[in-house]
Symmetry: C2
Subunit: 211 residues, 2 copies
DNA sequence: TTTTTAATGTGATTTTTGTAACAGTTGTTA
DNA sequence: TAACAACTGTTACAAAAATCACATTAAAAA
């Protein structure tokens, strides 16, 4: 299958979650306009996304929820090979994200957390043991970790991100305010302050986007 | 001035931060390619953003850092009227974001945090006192809060977001996994799991974006 | 002084993303 | 059975964002 657009992949993740809830409620089919309503987007966008992943619905019946979930899971998690995740830097944000992961029913598996604080190393965080950053490469290789969540203090961001790459991690979410660049890895940056300042800008009456 | 593109506003926030660091280091002018390098983007993009905000550099000298910071601040924070921020739901994520805010030198002012846990109400979190969600409207009006960070458990997301809007908040960052829709407010959604699953997708060898 | 170099500013183009329009089809109703 | 309504799938279009290409100009070098 052709590479999917980023926004489509993001929506697939959300589709799956609400679809799972529908399935748990006993629904077995859903119309594009129903799914759209749950995510506050347009039915066309839903149909297009579903088209892109090669699923096809039944006219007048909608989409089979079960099949859709299976297909999305195949695409995102690639059920054949589980992807393992590590959180690097288990401060407040790291711990918060850890809980988000544990509460979600994502198929991604959190395998380890890392920190350089001796008090933290060896401790268990929501059931996952914390290792020293020194042992990053060893554990990443042993556990087959491919994805890393970077939540260290900014001054360590660059160094640690390089260590993560060298350890074999291929996808990194960078929550530090430091802009990074790592060839050969998929790097997603999320900047808390930037987001807040953007909202501040667009919240001002003169910048409000009218609908 | 014309309404700025979202991505430009995001970059302005980042420009300001790195520019402030340069200024603190004693630099007074900067070239587009230098600024670009700090953020790992292209010089053209920097120049276009700067053009959009109506600043003009000096040929062969670059941009005046001081002027640029002042202009960006005028645009984002609108120095005439300080914007006040509240965090609604002071669990782990709320506390983590609170620390991010306190560590940053954003001009936005965190005025209050809210929760419905009696043990938390009245307590101070990193210097900011926690109020009951019951008193949201009262405090928002008293403090002139316009921006809210929503970090409550998912089951309360919809209800609390409506309360925030009714209280007069015009910009909301929704960190819950629940998709919201609020007319008349600028709503920015951030879904932790979606981000992670997106990274998982693009980290798989067959989906890697080659450069 | 003339040439070259290095930078800004911006129209034109491309890429990505979202939306509109509608053809096709299946079930329902008259 | 004929007309209609409802829903999918897709092509064509529009909007947003990024990039390219290059005109312009100030300083440096020859």
């Amino acid at each position: 299958m052709k590479l999917l657009p980023e926004r489509t992949v993001e929506r697939l993740s959300k589709y799956r979650r609400v679809l799972q809830r529908e399935l748990d409620n006993g629904t077995d089919h859903i119309y594009s306009h129903e799914l759209a309503k749950l995510l506050h987007i347009t039915p066309v966008q839903v149909r297009r996304d579903i088209m892109l992943i090669g699923h096809t619905g039944t006219l007048r019946k909608g989409y089979s929820i079960d099949n859709l979930i299976k297909l999305i899971s195949e695409i995102i998690d690639c059920s054949s090979s589980v992807q393992n995740v590590a959180i690097v830097g288990i401060g407040k944000l790291g711990q918060a994200l850890l809980d988000y992961l544990n509460d979600s029913n994502t198929k991604l598996n959190l395998s380890a957390v890392f920190d350089n604080n001796p008090d933290k190393i060896g401790t268990s965080y929501s059931g996952t043991v914390c290792y020293s950053i020194e042992s990053l490469k060893k554990i990443v290789e042993r556990e087959g970790i491919t994805i890393g969540i970077l939540t260290v203090p900014p001054e360590f961001a660059k160094e640690v991100s390089t260590m993560m790459k060298d350890a074999g991690i291929v996808g990194i979410i960078n929550y530090t305010p430091v802009s990074l660049k790592l060839d050969g890895t998929f790097l997603e940056e999320y900047d808390v302050i930037t987001t807040l300042e953007k909202v501040a800008y667009f919240s001002k009456p003169k910048n409000a986007k009218l609908l």
